[in-house]
């Protein structure tokens, strides 16, 4: 290693120390909280226990919320793949204006998602734009009650996270060599067969990457269910917020938070194992 590289190495420490002290250490503290049953920094001897994790699975209430969060995250991911695949395909293969269109598509991604969710509140409320329109056209004669239900939460989540799916899909589809598809067609595959056997399979990287970007934040979302949802749409995030800011059971809240962190770390490691550590950086 050259002397220059050795000197450059010194630049590592400020950033890395910051990262470990203010990012990794807090995660470790959460971990300690989750396996004890008292306030950690009070000076008394710590009692290690797994009861916090057991409690998640013992109380039906928490189990339901866990299952519901997973269900909502999966529905959102599947729909966002379905909604954005044709768009990504069009951008990657069928237009010359892909770059401009992608810049335009990135604009809402940068607008605070609370604002975009606010728009959905305007749309879905009982005398909101959607109901006014449906009543006006005579399709319904009673306003639909969508706001403050699980449906509203799922609609809001799909709307918020679908643009995140477009970019990785676009990048993956663009890399597919057209001659593979043509070869399949020449060898007698139908359009549909060529699409499912070639295009979809070769864009799996993008689908995985997009899933990381959608599934993880949706699983941990708490603002969207708090704004658009009601009692049938409480998610993990709302439980955690409640435990930390209102109930004050940090040990139990930490167990829930850790479960969330573990899920995301497993998914990230799984992805980096298959596609390589550096490829994670192509996700964005």
């Amino acid at each position: 290693m050259s002397i220059t590289a050795k000197n450059n190495k010194k630049l590592l420490y400020p950033g890395l120390i910051w990262f470990f002290v203010f990012f990794m250490l807090p995660l470790a503290v959460i971990f300690i909280y989750s396996i004890t049953d008292s306030y950690v920094f009070a000076g008394q001897k710590l009692q290690f226990t797994l009861s916090n994790f057991v409690m998640i699975f013992q109380k039906k209430h928490y189990l339901i919320i866990l299952g519901r969060s997973l269900k909502i995250a999966m529905i959102t991911t599947v729909f966002s793949i379905m909604f954005s695949y044709p768009v990504s395909y069009f951008l990657a293969k069928k237009t010359r204006f892909d770059r401009v269109l992608i810049v335009i598509l990135m604009v809402p991604f940068w607008i605070n998602y609370l604002i975009r969710i606010f728009a959905w509140k305007l749309l879905l409320s009982e005398n909101g734009v959607l109901n006014q329109f449906l009543l006006f056209t005579g399709i319904i004669d009673q306003p639909l009650k969508i706001l403050y239900t699980q449906t509203a939460v799922i609609l809001g989540l799909i709307y918020t996270y679908t643009p995140m799916m477009v970019l990785p899909l676009y990048a993956a589809i663009q890399k597919i060599d057209n001659s593979f598809i043509e070869a399949a067609r020449d060898l007698g595959a139908s359009r549909a067969r060529a699409f499912f056997d070639i295009t979809i399979k070769l864009s799996l990287t993008g689908i995985f990457a997009g899933t990381l970007l959608v599934f993880i934040p949706v699983l941990g979302s708490f603002a969207i269910p708090a704004i658009l949802g009601g009692t049938d749409s409480v998610m993990i995030g709302n439980i955690v917020e409640n435990q930390f800011l209102h109930v004050g059971n940090w040990n139990f809240g930490s167990a829930f938070t850790l479960a969330l962190a573990a899920t995301s770390i497993v998914l990230i490691l799984f992805y980096s194992k298959i596609f390589g550590a550096e490829s994670i950086y192509r996700v964005q």
């Binding site: 050259s2 220059t4 590289a5 450059n8 190495k9 590592l12 400020p14 950033g15 910051w18 990262f19 990012f23 250490l25 807090p26 959460i30 044709p86 069009f90 069928k94 598509l105 809402p108 940068w110 607008i111 605070n112 998602y113 609370l114 604002i115 975009r116 969710i117 606010f118 728009a119 959905w120 509140k121 305007l122 409320s125 734009v129 709307y159 643009p163 057209n178 990381l212 993880i216 934040p217 699983l219 941990g220 979302s221 603002a223 708090a226 704004i227 955690v240 930390f244 800011l245 940090w250 930490s254 938070t257 962190a261 995301s264 770390i265 990230i268 980096s272 550590a277 994670i280 964005q284």
Partner: protein, 286 residues
């Protein structure tokens, strides 16, 4: 020879034709679908704009009057102004710190070390992919443990640890593009190591650093969940919006949204412009 060149021309021409030829027959669905998709993404935002200038309290069509009264009411709302001020302060500070730490970290990881590089790459990806909720909660617990009270400094510290990864993400490709020999030859010609950074790397990385700064600014500016847990009794714009939204709808939120959206669009264009300038500089160096 001549014939061969001509055939190649014809082949590439036919490939190009192939890509764009079938618009008339079967290619109606995709463009139409894409148009609807863009409509789906943008219509709600347009709706917010319309109601920002609606003078009435409610959100009913047909609209009656257009005016600026909600803008005036927003600018007389002390809470909103305080939130705006805090948001700018937090975003500027955290973006500046993240760019300094992130740039040096990137130079070190890409052009300094070989060991542990893959491991550091995975660790640095965590803030990008981990749910903000986890980040916010763990920071809340940690700061309580080391006696940093909730408030603006705590928020800035956490925003830096998130933006650091994004700066790294942006800088990585750019630093990879610089040959370490450039730095080494400067040192061979008599510069010391610090000068080689200042005079060789810094000018080349400047546009990327600016892009990283804007990116970090936007991350911090939009960040809600981590801020919500750490801000204590203070307020930022996203926290203000959330508090307004949780208990009903206020047209003031429309006005804030309009202002933020316009600001955002300008920033996105600034980022694009920086990228173009950067590409120009890069081609000149190569």
């Amino acid at each position: 020879m001549r014939g061969k060149i001509k055939t190649e021309g014809i082949i590439s021409q036919s490939i190009r034709d192939h890509k764009f030829s079938k618009k008339g027959k079967r290619q109606v669905f995709l463009p139409l679908y894409t148009a609807f998709f863009f409509l789906y993404i943008f219509a709600p935002i347009v709706l917010i704009f319309i109601f920002a200038w609606n003078t009435g309290e409610g959100y009913n069509f047909p609209l009656k009057d257009f005016g600026w009264n909600w803008f005036v009411r927003l600018f007389n709302d002390r809470m909103a102004l305080k939130a705006l001020q805090n948001s700018i302060y937090i975003a500027v500070t955290s973006a500046t710190v993240s760019v300094i730490l992130g740039t040096s970290l990137t130079i070190a990881v890409i052009r300094g070390i070989k060991k542990f590089r893959a491991l550091i790459l995975v660790f640095l990806m965590l803030p990008v992919l981990m749910p903000s909720l986890t980040i916010g909660i763990s920071a809340l617990v940690f700061f309580r443990a080391i006696n940093i009270p909730p408030g603006i400094p705590a928020v800035i510290i956490s925003h830096v640890s998130i933006s650091l990864s994004y700066v790294f993400l942006i800088m990585m490709g750019r630093v990879e593009g610089i040959d370490i020999e450039m730095q080494e030859s400067a040192i061979d010609l008599g510069a010391n190591w610090f000068e080689s950074l200042k005079d060789i790397l810094f000018p080349v990385l400047m546009p990327a650093m600016l892009a990283g700064w804007l990116f970090s600014f936007m991350i911090s500016w939009n960040e809600f969940i981590v801020t919500y847990f750490l801000i204590g009794t203070e307020i930022t714009l996203p926290v203000y919006i959330f508090s307004q939204l949780r208990f009903g709808i206020s047209p003031k939120v429309n006005v804030i949204s309009v202002l933020i959206t316009v600001f955002t669009i300008l920033t996105v264009f600034a980022l694009q412009a920086i990228r173009k300038i950067y590409l120009k500089i890069q081609t000149r160096i190569v």
